[in-house]
């Protein structure tokens, strides 16, 4: 927990984790006994019969459950499918969890390798959507060329997390290759790499502009990057993609680069692991590894009511089981002791104004939260700029009443979205 400074006149500065000049080696986690992958689920489509329990899979094989949908996962190991079960993630997103038991051999699937000589958008979006870093390739493919700028995040948006920073500094060669491929398949020429302020140097000729941002939270969040680096303000309710800007993590670009370099779809994920005592580790493991395995490797024990957080401390989410696998976008795992975790309370807002003064979107959070507490989502959106929120979580961080403001905002957006869908269906 980062305490507020003794002197309270200045707003609290949450600094991003900075890696030392001499980068440490990644710590490798051995292959687990089972691998779980989340395949996007769609209730209206029937599951194809091509995939079933007991089927053998090869390393790098594309597994697709629906014949008529473009959803797929890439198996990181060779083995057999041991179970297919439904899984519900945050905010009602549903998945099919595919569990694979590795057989210890590494038999490679070479469908991708045969096509790497002429990289196309179809190839990239057809094989690399689930690569480490979760490249938003399907979005690029669907955009019909409306994306004019690609921003590569060499800095993780959340504090404590150093995954992309590490990758951007240590995998320059793959990054350069990835940028080249991206330019080739998308025809987007305007590519910007974002780094923390002082580390702009050292990137040489990687085929993209390198821009630094202030090394304090939330300057690496997409909306802040848009405002500070690109000088564009995203209108409330719109996304960066609406303005023609697509965000890639450094890892995603490196994955693309490496895939075309080696001919194999990369499946090993780099992530920041924060131990209970706060020590950060850079960890390399296979996608689909249960979180429990990583904890075990570092000798971390989890007690009742401790928390395991995927993603950063400001915007991440806690999971309820150690069996939860590492996903392509799991940039960090934080083990948080129950005594250090921030509990929320039902204490009322005392109107101190801390949230208003820290809000990077200059919203009237103290009024907004009163509407949200009363479930007045429409009014909150109309009069108190709900959609201007860039979801940084700083309001909850400073709230002296410990009101879960951030959660209220996300819930309100979700509820409004849900209310909109039936309306649209009626129309």
């Amino acid at each position: 927990m980062i305490k507020k400074a003794f002197l309270g006149l200045s707003t609290p500065q949450i600094e991003y984790a900075m890696l030392p000049a001499h980068l440490p080696e990644t710590e490798k986690i051995p292959a687990p006994k089972s691998i779980t992958l989340f395949h996007q689920r769609n209730d209206t489509h029937s599951i194809s019969s091509t995939l079933g329990i007991g089927d053998p899979v090869k390393t790098g094989e594309k597994l697709s459950l629906y014949s008529d949908q473009n959803f797929y996962v890439i198996s990181p190991v060779s083995g057999t499918i041991s179970s297919l079960s439904p899984y519900t993630g945050d905010f009602g997103k549903s998945y099919i969890a595919i569990t694979i038991t590795p057989d210890g051999n590494q038999v490679f699937d070479d469908t991708f390798q045969q096509q790497i000589q002429n990289p196309t958008m179809e190839l990239v979006s057809g094989y690399l959507a689930g690569a480490p870093g979760n490249p938003p390739v399907s979005m690029l493919a669907d955009s019909d060329g409306s994306i004019k700028t690609i921003v590569i995040r060499g800095l993780d948006p959340d504090p404590l997390v150093a995954t992309n920073q590490y990758i951007a500094q240590s995998r320059l060669k793959d990054l350069k290759k990835g940028i080249r491929i991206l330019k080739e398949v998308t025809a987007v020429q305007d590519i910007i790499v974002i780094t923390a302020g002082e580390s702009v140097q050292g990137y040489g000729h990687i085929g993209a502009q390198v821009k630094g941002v202030r090394p304090t939270y939330p300057s690496a969040l997409p909306h802040m990057v848009m405002k500070d680096v690109l000088g564009q303000v995203v209108p409330a309710g719109k996304t960066c993609e609406n303005l023609g800007v697509c965000f890639f993590s450094a890892e995603a670009v490196v994955s693309i680069g490496r895939a075309f370099e080696s001919g194999q779809i990369p499946t090993s994920k780099i992530l920041t692991f924060i131990k209970k005592d706060g020590t950060p580790k850079i960890v390399e493991t296979s996608i689909g590894t249960p979180i429990g395995n990583i904890l075990e490797a570092f000798g971390e024990t989890v007690n009742e009511y401790d928390r395991i957080i995927l993603g950063g401390p400001m915007t991440g989410s806690a999971v309820y089981a150690l069996e939860h696998p590492v996903k392509p976008d799991t940039d960090s795992i934080i083990v948080l002791d129950r005594d250090k975790a921030a509990y929320v309370s039902d204490y009322p807002c005392i109107n101190c104004g801390e949230c208003v003064r820290i809000c990077p979107a200059q919203m009237q959070v103290h009024m907004l939260v009163r509407f949200l507490e009363a479930n007045q989502y429409e009014a909150a959106a109309d009069s108190y700029d709900l959609y201007s929120c860039i979801e940084c979580g700083l309001c909850s961080y400073v709230c002296v009443s410990k009101i879960p403001i951030f959660q209220y905002i996300k819930l309100a957006k979700y509820e409004l979205e849900r209310a909109k869908t039936p309306e649209a269906a009626d129309a």
């Binding site: 309270g8 409330a236 400001m314 915007t315 990077p360 009443s401």
Partner: protein, 331 residues
């Protein structure tokens, strides 16, 4: 809390560890309401101690009675209204303390109890508890008591029996009724060091200022409000003094007497009744300061600080409409 956890631990098999699923952010600045209350009380201490030194046992008993009854009323209301018990946040104690600091040391017990009832129940709880009060509860209580029992707040008669080492005249009253010539016996340094009649904790300018600076530096109160409040008092008093130095006292006197300093640092800055945006805070403070001098110089009351604060409390929600445009606001 601990026992409950242990019990749960016994019931759950160790393999199925229950992790807490909560939502972001997982960090918190560590600042709580309780901390705000107790640090404000701490900041009020220097001024209070001088009050104890001057007025002795009666002052101590008024303060003790005030704090304890304030807590009692809050607890009683919580129980009657079947709400969560909120005395733990220290806000009731703070209200009691600030209320006592404004009273003369000889205030009778029933007045203290009535006053804390007004502050805690009428001023705060019936609006819905902390954070919902439209007015500063302490200012409201003092204003209502002042309307009802004018003689209690006549510091000259209330503190008549004290043998103090300074002139026992209430400077503001002297200035209002006998003109500025009657203030010649006061010098500003004496006033600043608390050598004047007034509320138990409201006279020690230096102590209040130290407390205020501490609170501002720690971020518990906003400098925008306090400083503009004082600036408003200074400027308005200066203008009045310029026009008629015989009738209207100078800005120094207005700043250092009555409730001006305690009002600027401890009353006007109350969270729920003051605005949160920068420009509104500046306007709010300045309006309060000017209002103080207007009430003192041409109004019917000797000291207008609590009334001025109630008036600006009313302005507060309106002022907060002056706000920066949210990021990416679509018109």
């Amino acid at each position: 809390m601990l026992e409950k956890r242990d019990l749960l631990e016994q019931q759950t098999p160790l393999e199925q560890k229950k992790l807490i699923v909560s939502h972001a952010p997982f960090y918190h600045s560590g600042r709580r309401v309780t901390e705000r209350s107790y640090h404000t009380m701490l900041a009020a201490l220097p001024a209070l101690l001088l009050g104890f030194y001057h007025y002795g046992m009666p002052a101590i008993s008024v303060v003790c009675l005030s704090i304890s009854t304030a807590i009692f009323w809050e607890l009683a209301f919580n129980l009657v209204a079947k709400r969560t018990i909120t005395i733990g946040d220290g806000n009731a104690a703070l209200l009691g303390l600030l209320f006592a600091m404004l009273l003369p040391a000889t205030t009778p017990w029933w007045a203290v109890i009535t006053g804390t009832f007004i502050a805690v129940v009428v001023g705060k709880q019936i609006f819905g508890g902390i954070g919902s009060n439209a007015f500063n509860p302490v200012a409201l209580a003092i204003a209502i008591m002042m309307v009802s029992y004018k003689e209690l707040f006549d510091f000259d008669t209330a503190l008549l029996n004290y043998d103090l080492e300074f002139a026992t005249i209430y400077p503001l009253k002297a200035a209002k009724y006998f003109g500025t010539a009657s203030l010649d016996s006061f010098n500003l340094v004496d006033l600043f060091l608390g050598r004047q009649l007034g509320g138990i904790g409201a006279t020690f300018g230096l102590g209040l200022m130290l407390g205020g600076i501490y609170l501002m530096l720690r971020g518990f109160i906003r400098w925008e409000i306090s400083l503009t409040f004082l600036a408003g008092v200074y400027l308005a008093a200066f203008v009045f003094n310029l026009f008629d130095p015989v009738r209207f006292a100078g800005p120094g006197i207005h700043l250092l007497t009555g409730y001006t300093l305690i009002g600027a640092f401890f009353l006007a800055t109350e969270d729920s009744s003051s605005p949160v945006n920068i420009i509104p805070m500046l306007v709010y403070g300045a309006a309060g300061g000017i209002m103080v001098v207007l009430i003192r110089n041409i109004g019917a009351y000797v000291d207008g600080v609590v009334l001025a604060i109630l008036v600006i409390n009313l302005l507060s929600p309106l002022l907060d409409k002056i706000r920066p445009e949210a990021l990416g606001k679509v018109m």
